[in-house]
Symmetry: C2
Subunit: 127 residues, 2 copies
């Protein structure tokens, strides 16, 4: 496992990035620093980071993958209109012992996503 300029740029881009970028967004934005970078490298890198547990892949209904570099416990709010995905603080405790068909399920992490309208979209008139 080598540290290369491309991998460093992708990591730098992900760390502290609150927008949960898609692979395409990573590609587009990292291209500014690494003009010759290819999509294959982006995909190789994010797949590796997911496998290593350094970032998480988010469930997504928009046909592309979104990545979450912030592994501290927090929830998400997805605006169903504009598609933006916001980080929000967790409230309360999360169950770590849940039952599936009467048998214990070993929870690794809990994903809570609120689907709805953000302030901007709720205020617009074409709902």
């Amino acid at each position: 496992m080598r540290i290369t300029a491309q991998r460093l740029e992708i990591l730098k881009y992900l760390i502290g990035n609150p927008i949960h970028p898609t692979a395409e967004e990573i590609y587009r934005d990292v291209k500014g620093e690494q003009p010759n970078i290819s999509r294959a490298t982006v995909y190789n890198t994010v797949n590796m980071l997911v496998r290593l547990g350094e970032i998480r892949e988010l469930g997504c209904t928009s046909g592309c993958r979104r990545f979450e570099p912030d592994l501290t416990p927090h929830d998400h709010a997805l605006c169903v209109k504009c598609g933006r995905l916001f980080d929000i603080e967790s409230e309360g405790e999360k169950d770590t012992r849940v039952m599936v068909m009467g048998k214990p399920f070993e929870v690794k992490y809990t994903d809570i996503t609120y689907h709805g309208l953000c302030q901007t979209c709720a205020g617009s008139d074409d709902n």
Copy 2:
């Protein structure tokens, strides 16, 4: 909006189906009853059902779409090893007022998914 044999079969297949089928699974299984059905019809139908609010599309990290016909409040448990997605009963109340960057977010529904290992996979030896 017409009731056609194809749409009826797709609905019959979805209703009471606990496996959260993908579009491809719907296509494959409904083909038994409607051998000439096309993928286009399956996609047209599920997209229409989602638009009408009769079924829900689930966030999914596996590159294909999964559909949820059961709109009663419940949570999910996703086995990260075998990929099966189980329905589980909701426990406790869900927040309906959350804040995004200090502003209220209008929650339509809350998606809680526990990621982890099901009993079967937790018990197998190749973890």
